[in-house]
Symmetry: C2
Subunit: 358 residues, 2 copies
């Protein structure tokens, strides 16, 4: 993809005072960190076309429920800017095509649909072509700013429950790299760290895409937070040894019943937490809540078998073998101690606390 190579900017890994900007709007382009190159290289990519943003979401160049929502919103702005439409009806037609394409990229995280729907409702509320284009960009920019303030509030709410000297396990990456810049689950840890609480973080590798090794370990190290990496197979053993005080993870979608869709492996971490009486928290902004779907209606994305078959050029399993590779699982409410949001911490029974607060 030559347009990507052309647009490549290599960042400065040593300049750790700066927050990692996962997705940003600059000079009418979407700029994002290429997360597939981490932890080896911090590379920023620039996109001018919404189709390239869609492909970047599919290829996990950008991932994490809040971040893909913002990326898609900026993608809509690219679609609007590049549209040659002279009438608002023609523009809305172009936007609908972009909306469908971007929405099809990943089925499970609800923030993607949430952001796209918001952009479309802004677009349909105007009748002038230029007004529509401007208001889409403004709306996407506001979303990005809101993501930061939301996550900082969420972080502060969550940090209150973290004790000094705690060892906290997290799964996958719900950090800077899953949001615009502050993080949800890792935002809570950053806030606790900023308050001067001593914490140690255990990051699971998170097979098969290794977001724990590549992203969480990278970004906590970047922000100077004490982090240790473990294989996903060592979670139960560490818990049985009494080494984990708390678990905090992110979420891709939360239902009105309190069922949480998140990275594959979250459910078993929650079940093991229950067995060992370890508090298990979910940290997610309100945009993660889906109050209309039921638990059997949510599509769990199944990803390509090559994620298990290969690592770089190395073949990990015999060719032609069958593979089951779901990207997400669902954690039932009875395993969840609390859900940390920007409005406060929701407690069980979730059916009630969610209905009252969301």
């Amino acid at each position: 993809m030559p347009h990507m190579k052309k647009g490549k900017i290599t960042g400065e890994l040593k300049n750790k005072s700066k927050d990692l900007m996962t997705v940003e709007w600059k000079n009418n382009q979407v700029v994002m960190i290429d997360q597939t190159k981490l932890p080896g290289k911090l590379v920023f990519l620039r996109y001018k076309k919404y189709e390239d943003v869609a492909r970047a979401i599919e290829r996990l160049i950008v991932r994490g429920a809040p971040a893909i929502g913002i990326a898609a919103a900026f993608g809509m702005s690219l679609a609007a800017i590049s549209s040659k439409a002279k009438t608002h009806t023609a523009l809305l037609r172009d936007l609908k095509i972009a909306y469908d394409r971007l929405r099809s990229t990943r089925p499970t995280a609800v923030n993607l649909a949430w952001a796209l729907d918001k952009i479309m409702s802004v677009a349909t509320s105007k009748t002038n072509v230029e007004d529509i284009k401007k208001s889409i960009l403004l709306s996407a920019l506001n979303m990005a700013t809101d993501d930061i303030t939301t996550n900082k509030k969420l972080g502060l709410n969550g940090a209150g429950i973290i004790g000094n000297d705690e060892v906290i396990l997290t799964h996958c990456n719900a950090g800077s790299l899953a949001t615009v810049t502050y993080g949800t689950a890792l935002g809570v840890l950053r806030a606790a760290n900023d308050m001067g609480k001593k914490i140690q973080v255990i990051a699971t590798e998170t097979r098969p895409v290794m977001q724990g090794s590549r992203l969480t370990a990278f970004e906590l190290d970047y922000y100077n937070i004490d982090v240790s990496l473990i294989p996903d197979t060592a979670v139960g053993y560490l818990m049985s040894k009494g080494k984990i005080n708390r678990v905090i993870v992110g979420a891709d979608r939360i239902l009105k019943t309190g069922h949480v869709y998140n990275k594959i492996g979250t459910y078993q971490v929650a079940a093991l937490s229950k067995r060992h009486n370890i508090p298990f928290y979910v940290a997610a902004p309100l945009s993660t809540f889906d109050l209309s779907s039921n638990v059997n209606e949510v599509v769990i994305e199944e990803r390509n078998k090559n994620e298990l078959m290969k690592m770089g050029n190395k073949l990990l399993a015999p060719k032609g073998i069958k593979v089951f590779n779901p990207a997400f699982d669902v954690t039932p409410p009875e395993l969840i101690t609390g859900i940390i949001t920007e409005k406060g911490i929701l407690m069980p029974p979730y059916e009630e606390s969610i209905a009252k607060n969301i």
Copy 2:
């Protein structure tokens, strides 16, 4: 290591009628499959020196509790043959050096110590140099033959409990490649398959060394048994969906209390089985039982952090990150439905059934 390259024989991957011979004695050499090259290449290595066998065990060229026991016994025979000692006292001194070296290779699996102790007791029962050399080889060869017959008996005992159309999950590799050729947990599955029972096997990848992807998937495919690969993170999700009927794993050491040491991740698979009311079986020969140690006395090997940091040349996590990489964990007896041995299936309470039968 030029002696290894020199000794390399590449096997025929297509000749699936032949059993995989993991470790064998041929022409005064130890011949073993290089398991680090699987599933890409089936390569056999030949060793003439016990030191090379020790290094092969450390480097996981041969792994699996029963297989490393046999490999070490053959290593003792190499030490005996190459010794220039003229007296039995001098020979025993040489053998003791080889014993210490081989025994130090891996601390957790008890079969290694069991096999080495057996060889030493044979050696010390003779007084003539040539007698000692012959009887060590004979004893090692008998161990290899016994391993096959033992595992076939164990397989038949276990196959009796497998129902038709069952979906059975296994973790790590307790197959041909963990024994001389027949396998323990996978021996049970081979026996069930040979009886004409239709089974489907789910193999976990088994991070970090990927014995599930590289070895279990490879060998079940080789023996034409239906196998699907999943990431270690998907175990709980599959169980919650009711997709798993039974779990069977191997063991590296079993205590008199019924505590089972096995590959890291076994404990959490067992805990998740309990949560979902799925029968959880361990398959292991009697040589796996350690009736003298207590649960806090067994050393759990911690392996090199590079197993998590790198895959081939690809860097998976930021340099300098802390890593916790235990090779084994311990599953308590209350999570184990039964222990399949060559003598029959041990049932709880294990303290009683083990005392009575082992």
